[in-house]
């Protein structure tokens, strides 16, 4: 039973979300001309279909205990070719994954404060280390020179205004831009 519940759990969560969003859709604030459908019609239609698929999967997995599921053509072709077996059998490293995700979240949060160059140099170096790369000189060179090159290309050639940071970090960014000839 626990196994069945585990299989059904993503669909139960999705069904609850769909019901909540449907409730929100009933409260959209609008004035439609008489006899004309409103902005809630399309989302409600999608949510009803989403809910219906979830109910089918819940019934199938939880009540009937049926594990059969029809798959898309590409899935079938790849299965027949055994193309994904090797990938699937590789051991996982969840710690690296969560470290990588955590680092990415911190990077996005600190980008505005640290500025693109400082934040990106640190991010690149730490990401390579999390990915188990150990050539320290390559890490240092790739992260610093890579960030500088990207900053130069996007600010000088593509004209994208990357974040400069605040306080001392802004000073560093402006100094680097001045050296690169970016105004």
């Amino acid at each position: 039973m626990l196994n069945r519940l585990l299989r059904a759990s993503p669909y139960i969560v999705l069904l609850i979300c769909a019901m909540y969003l449907y409730h929100l859709a009933t409260q959209f604030d609008y004035t439609a001309p008489p006899g004309r459908i409103g902005p809630d019609a399309w989302p409600k239609l999608i949510l009803v279909m989403l809910g219906a698929v979830c109910v089918c999967e819940i019934v199938k997995n939880l009540l009937v205990g049926e594990s059969f599921t029809a798959s898309g053509m590409l899935d079938k072709l790849m299965q027949d070719a055994g193309a994904e077996e090797e990938e699937a059998n590789r051991p996982g490293y969840p710690l690296r994954l969560w470290a990588g995700i955590g680092l990415t979240v911190v990077y996005t949060l600190l980008m505005d404060t640290l500025g693109f160059f400082v934040a990106s140099s640190a991010y690149l170096a730490l990401f390579m280390i999390i990915g188990q790369y150990t050539r320290w000189r390559v890490i240092a060179a790739a992260s610093v020179l890579g960030s500088l090159a990207i900053m130069f290309i996007f600010m000088k050639i593509v004209y994208v205004s990357l974040p400069l940071g605040v306080g001392p970090f802004k000073v560093v960014s402006i100094a680097l831009l001045a050296v690169m000839g970016v105004r």
């Binding site: 669909y11 999705l14 969003l21 929100l24 959209f28 604030d29 609008y30 004035t31 004309r36 459908i37 409103g38 902005p39 809630d40 019609a41 989302p43 999608i46 949510l47 989403l50 698929v53 999967e57 599921t69 029809a70 798959s71 898309g72 053509m73 590409l74 899935d75 079938k76 072709l77 790849m78 070719a81 193309a83 990938e87 590789r90 051991p91 996982g92 490293y93 994954l97 990588g100 995700i101 990415t104 979240v105 996005t108 980008m111 991010y123 690149l124 990401f127 390579m128 999390i130 990915g131 188990q132 790369y133 390559v138 790739a142 992260s143 990207i150 290309i153 050639i157 593509v158 994208v160």
Partner: protein, 504 residues
């Protein structure tokens, strides 16, 4: 005659130095991303997008199209030589391409691949040129029920042809459609699912969904599975040359070339299918109907020509619905659509009227790209293969960086970075729980189109949805959509019953 004249002018435009320069860059980048196992073709095209922000529309489309076409070819090198398929497209090349290389004829295998890419590419480009104009004219006659039915067919084919289970693909598609509803609705100005968050009120750009789910999500998956080490590849020191097949050898395979090209174009036109399915389907067709079907898998030329021809010819096919109806059929064409929209041009039935010379220049660029790709593949194969030596953690770190810049640069908005991080995590979770990503992305792209044609249809037909099955064109398309959905379920249930019946 009009088409030939337009194409001639298109060639003149393409041969401008700037256009040629970006094309070469696109071809090289496309091959590089196809060779590197950590980078997919779609991801590569996503990463190139921010570089197009400061370019004109034509060079942007030339760059992305060149990447798209050469991405269907570059991975063949590593599949044949090292048994490393850079892309799922190249998996069928392992069976005969690698087998031929193992028999001591890697140069010949590479030669067949080159001929297949060239032949398939040129045939599909020619078909695209002559088919696009009539398709656009036909599309002009369609009204909202027909257009809505076509979109439903597109979504149905994405679900039935893609990866993952069909129910999970449906869920993924519905989530994509829901994402497209976030923000202020364009007809009534009503705020939907924004939860009072300012950046959600502007809506979620599908490019962010795409960059996050495809780019970041893929990097997170690979991070968890562990990046490839720096082990030396078997056979990396061998001399890499390409040996062309003779004219008579090519003549013997003309049936395979023709069959696979047509299959590739048809599969390319169908939304959600793309080069990978084209490659597998063509290989399957050759195994069933080819002259030497019993020898398939033993290292014969047909097993190389069929998948490669179909993969490259799917590009021309995929560009037809994109240009003539504004419907992207694959991840790569969705990004090309994004580049069009970023430059204020909406592809669709009117495109020949509003931007005819540019469309012909795009057609011409595809011809030149295909020839350039083969020249590059012939002369630069050795340095291209060398990129496999690049450490994956370094490449992946830069992929993430370009994802962030691509997301940020579109609107210069830091909030977009949070959005792509969220979609990166969602992309990882989708993979983990076996939900396909393609329907999510295509749902977020087709969502606004589908909603506007649905609303227009309901308003013009007094809320009578049965118009979908009452008009001949829309009814036919709806029947095709139902077949697309029901057929794989029916086939797999039948196979399952047969397997059960055969069990003692």
């Amino acid at each position: 005659m009009e088409i030939i004249a337009g194409l001639g002018a298109g060639f003149l435009e393409v041969f401008q130095p700037m256009n040629m320069f970006v094309m070469v860059i696109g071809l090289v980048l496309g091959m590089l991303v196809a060779v590197l196992p950590g980078l997919t073709l779609v991801m590569g095209v996503v990463l190139a997008l921010p570089f197009t922000y400061s370019m004109g529309l034509l060079p942007s489309i030339i760059l992305l199209t060149a990447m798209y076409v050469s991405g269907t070819y570059g991975g063949a090198f590593t599949s044949i030589l090292f048994r490393i398929p850079g892309e799922p497209i190249d998996v069928p090349l392992l069976w005969d391409g690698y087998a031929m290389a193992r028999k001591g004829r890697p140069a010949k295998a590479l030669g067949w691949t080159l001929c297949a890419a060239l032949g398939g590419g040129l045939i599909s480009a020619t078909v695209m040129v002559f088919l696009s104009h009539p398709v656009a004219k036909f599309a002009l006659t369609l009204s909202s029920p027909e257009y809505f039915a076509i979109l439903i067919f597109g979504m149905a084919s994405v679900v039935s042809l893609g990866g993952g289970s069909i129910s999970n693909a449906f869920i993924s598609l519905f989530l994509g459609l829901l994402i497209a509803t976030v923000g202020v609705d364009s007809i009534y100005g009503t705020e939907r699912f924004a939860f009072g968050v300012p950046f959600l009120q502007d809506g979620i750009e599908y490019l962010l969904v795409m960059v996050g789910a495809y780019g970041l999500g893929e990097v997170f998956q690979r991070l968890e599975k562990g990046f490839r080490g720096e082990e030396k590849l078997m056979g990396a020191d061998q001399e890499i040359v390409t040996e062309f097949p003779t004219a008579s050898e090519i003549g013997q395979l003309k049936g395979t070339f023709f069959r696979s090209s047509i299959l590739g174009i048809i599969v390319g036109i169908i939304p959600g299918a793309g080069a990978t399915i084209a490659s597998f389907v063509a290989y399957g067709a050759e195994s069933q109907y080819g002259k030497r079907r019993k020898e398939m898998g033993s290292g014969i030329a047909e097993g190389i020509v069929a998948p490669q021809t179909a993969a490259t010819s799917s590009v021309g096919g995929a560009l037809i619905p994109l240009l003539t109806m504004g419907i992207p059929g694959s991840g790569a064409t969705a990004i090309i659509l994004g580049a069009f929209l970023l430059h204020g041009v909406q592809p669709g039935p009117q495109i020949f009227v509003s931007s005819g010379p540019m469309v012909y220049a795009i057609f011409a660029s595809l011809f030149v790209s295909i020839i350039g790709m083969c020249i590059l593949g012939y002369f630069a194969i050795k340095p291209l293969v060398k990129v496999l030596d690049m450490p994956e953690p370094v490449v992946s770190a830069f992929v993430v960086m370009f994802c962030f810049i691509g997301a940020f640069a579109a609107r210069n908005n830091l909030s977009d970075l949070y959005v792509i991080t969220a979609f990166g995590i969602l992309g990882y979770l989708f993979d983990k729980f076996k939900f396909p990503i393609a329907p999510l992305v295509l749902g977020s792209i087709l969502g606004p189109l589908a909603e506007s044609s649905f609303m227009t249809m309901m308003v013009s037909e007094n809320n009578d949805w049965t118009v979908l099955i009452a008009r001949p064109v829309s009814a036919t398309v709806m029947v095709l959509a139902v077949i697309a959905l029901v057929y794989p379920i029916h086939r797999q249930l039948r196979e399952r019953r047969a397997t059960r019946a055969n069990k003692p």
